[in-house]
Symmetry: D2
Subunit: 320 residues, 4 copies
């Protein structure tokens, strides 16, 4: 079985690198690990690798999302999987990651896998250089999908993900799924919507106060409108959260305090779609933009993966 | 000059004493100081007196709001003020407060003043008996008024209140005012609206996390709908806040982290009515109920003070 | 390979059950899952099982420490390991855990392994019933050992533990080791000392403020002397911590905010024994009791495992 | 009566301005309001004035501690007091404070009083420029005195200070006193010891976590030894605190969460000298340096006020 360790990075296309860097570095407090004329490589204070690359491009979007695997042999097995299933794939590289297998999953997501990575001294105990809210480490990615159930099943079956929580419609259809490899709540969430598109990219925060500090900093900088939703607490995952939008509209979740899922008899938690506690154990109603907007994903041969509507229509309750 | 020390208590009429007690004591964690068949007397952990009395009544409303004065002589001076201005007044008493002067201010608010009070050992350092979010002490009251400017001027002129912040319309009219005696941001806030009615009654919280804990507890008890607005940060007062509604709809603010105003050259802070930072430095939009709903105030001779519309019409921005 | 999931429970002998229950339940806020005339079964709010059993006994000590394994087959493999290595072992049971393999490891530790467990609805989102500092879940155990290196090697080799951090003397000897199965910093720590004895049993806390609240509560209850060390921050694990002693002297650590260790190229972190940052990134000096005192462990055939001095002598710096 | 508003600033002589600035600005996160070749003027984010001046000098010490008064008339009254009591006094000025009356109190303390002050836009809501632990505002000063009772009585009688808490020896002698003008716990604390010397200078912190962050930052910068005592909670004042020492040994307290003292019947809280809860409601024992070391105060005609031993000898319990 392919041994995926964890979600590991994202590459975002941004249209104004200086403006984006200002947002991620000066306001959110991510740390620059590398910088080139066309790209900035960022990480949280616990990350030993870069976890978010901002790449200058004419249009905003997401180049790919990446997972780390246990060994090179896992990459070979992924090649065989891609060949067997006819998934477009090729070898690529990024700075510090010389050998990445990029493939397009059956649902159109551009995903990359790598084993080898140059790691760097972390900043976790260099508290004197932490800035702003102090984003700690990559936590998960969330993808909007017109076929949550199919996508979920593929990741569970082919890549060994495990289900921690899911949302069901009244007819038993799966509206959303939280799946993981790392023993936490999720590496990847799939939520029903026009897609595939990236819904959000999430960093783990040291505590709830650091999330409040992020809000204070955005307000101090006269950019409170970058806060799209929250802070509040999710029913699903139990996390305390806030969602912010970067200057290109990419959505970042600051996330803390979920739980562990390592037990062999862990029972995935089921939520009904119209249970208001699901999305918001407490907190303000969710704006429509949060359900409707997402980042385009790069297609295997260039251009964007064209978002499709799925079969499941409708909007949960507790929306403005 | 009459020497008002601080806002000191409120008396709420509630229609189901057990249900209200459950809310205030079991969820918010206020502490019972006295209990009689028809009333419960509550306080925060720092309060040495009861600061909120719940009194069983056929209809919900507010009996009066009370201020503590420095001496009995201040009460005598208040009597002379009431006589001079023709304000209805009489001597009343409450438990622990044998001699309270109740009067109706020129704008219809039922206010009581007292000097003598039986104080009790506080609970501040008895951390082992603190419960829930740990409300700490009474902080302020907020009254909706059809004549903010007139009411403000009367409290400044006759009772020596000082202005800390205020909201102006484009024509220079005063939409809201925060006035104080205690060296903090406010003992009394006045906000434009159909009134006079009580907008909210506020307790000081030890920190922002205790406010998040209050939200968690309400959600745990399956009553997240009691959270009407927030958490968020006010521009005015800089406080981190949440507003909750009790079973009768009385609005309680949990409030923390404002600033001190003791300097002789302190300049009241002016906000423009349509500055969205004013109400919400950051946070979700404010629901209409927050602007429209309030608690009725008891009239001097019984019944309710009839709320009136004021001259200033319209709603601030940043409202749902 | 035997698949150990995580450290899963401890059974403490206590000499006054009511007094111990008062400490763990009323002060620390652990939750009673079961209660019998001679025992109380406790858990944190995230635990779906009991994680600490207090059992009335004439003398204080530790009956065993337990790990959960992935399947019954892992238990069979453990039997074969025990037979191969001549380790005393037998089947035992505890409430909710009908089939536990108890064995004595080669160094004298009484350890139990189980797969089957009756789980219960957690309390994580029932915030209205959380009490006190709100201990969240079992995190790890720490054992004082006269042969850290040997013990560590056995757990790494036979049970597949992975090393996250370790302390070296100047001669390359291993003074302490943090080893894990769950992807965190440790399930089991081994520290040089007269042993084997239990050094401490640790619960994960939601945040640093909850640890401060634990201190406040102990002080409120006039038992501040139960706080033996901290709060402070460890260099090792980066955790914010406090150590408290129960009425029988069993040591409990309240612990939060370490990091994840899942990466395949994770490099165990080495600390030199006399680096003061190792134990205390910052914080007061450590009292001698913390190095010298521990809980006795029950021998396989009754009585206590007799503690032995190890070859490594001396005390780290930064001790009072 | 002279109307003192609050403690308002301190002027510290430091021997290496760059090194001190690094400590106060880069580690503690105080904000530079002015800078000259020989001095740096600092403030917290809420302060509208500078509250700590660092002045380059050959020897470390304290030039003076200053209080703000309500009006120029209060300064004239202070002159009359000084003349009446034969206290050395003269007019001085500091940047932004053109007219300061400096006098030496009867016990040798150099104190300055001013009314006029140039205020500046505060930084409270400019959260994006807050750095490090975010010191908020000046809170109080603490002076070691060989005659606590005499000094206390002079400040109460001549300057209208009010007593909030005090420590008594078994014979009724006053070992320490907390006195205030601002409605909080203290503007000035007096503690028994070789003096007069400055014991510490304190800033208000937004919450307990910001104090922990200060410790983390000092540890990150490899200067954990600057933390002399704490964090912990005082019985007196109920504050959560930490004490740090600057590069010249001046002691700074980071302090949060005390209570208000405005009530007319507020009863000063009495503590017995050997009640361990007094200094440390909970926390590690206090190092001797905390009792023995302090900053020299500048004498009226230059040089240092020579510290004297007082009549009260001995050390409280709970000391290392």
């Amino acid at each position: 079985m392919i041994d995926v360790i964890r979600v590991a990075h994202g590459v975002f296309y941004v249209t104004d690198l200086a403006r984006s860097k200002d947002f991620y570095v000066n306001l959110l407090g991510l740390n620059v690990l590398h910088e080139t004329p066309g790209a900035v490589y960022l990480r949280g204070v616990e990350d030993r690798e870069w976890t978010l690359k901002l790449e200058l491009a004419p249009e905003a979007g997401v180049k790919h999302l990446a997972y780390r695997v246990r060994s090179e042999a896992d990459l070979e097995e992924l090649v065989r999987l891609a060949e067997r299933q006819g998934l477009p794939h090729r070898w690529e590289s990024e700075l510090d990651r010389p050998r990445m297998l990029r493939l397009q999953d059956p649902f159109g997501l551009p995903v990359a896998f790598y084993h080898e990575s140059k790691t760097h001294k972390w900043l976790l105990q260099d508290y004197h250089v932490h800035r702003g809210p102090g984003l700690q480490r990559i936590d998960h990615v969330n993808v909007m999908s017109p076929d949550v159930e199919g996508t979920m099943n593929w990741y569970l079956r082919e890549l060994g993900f495990r289900l921690s929580e899911y949302t069901e419609g009244e007819d038993g259809s799966v509206w959303a799924a939280w799946i993981q490899r790392r023993g936490g709540v999720h590496d990847l969430a799939l939520t029903n919507g026009v897609g595939p598109r990236l819904h959000h990219f999430a960093y783990w925060m040291p505590d709830a106060l650091s999330i409040i500090r992020a809000c204070d900093i955005l307000a101090g900088a006269r950019q409170p409108e970058r806060i799209e939703r929250g802070p509040g607490r999710h029913g699903i995952s139990n996390a305390f959260f806030v969602y912010v939008r970067d200057p290109d509209g990419h959505r970042i979740e600051l996330y803390t305090s979920d739980y562990i899922t390592v037990d062999p008899d862990f029972e995935p938690i089921r939520w009904m779609r119209d249970d208001p506690r699901r999305q918001t154990l407490w907190g303000a109603k969710t704006p429509k933009s949060w359900f409707e907007e997402g980042s385009l994903l790069e297609a295997f041969d260039g251009g964007w993966v064209k978002p499709r509507e799925g079969a499941l229509q409708g909007m949960p309750v507790h929306v403005i």
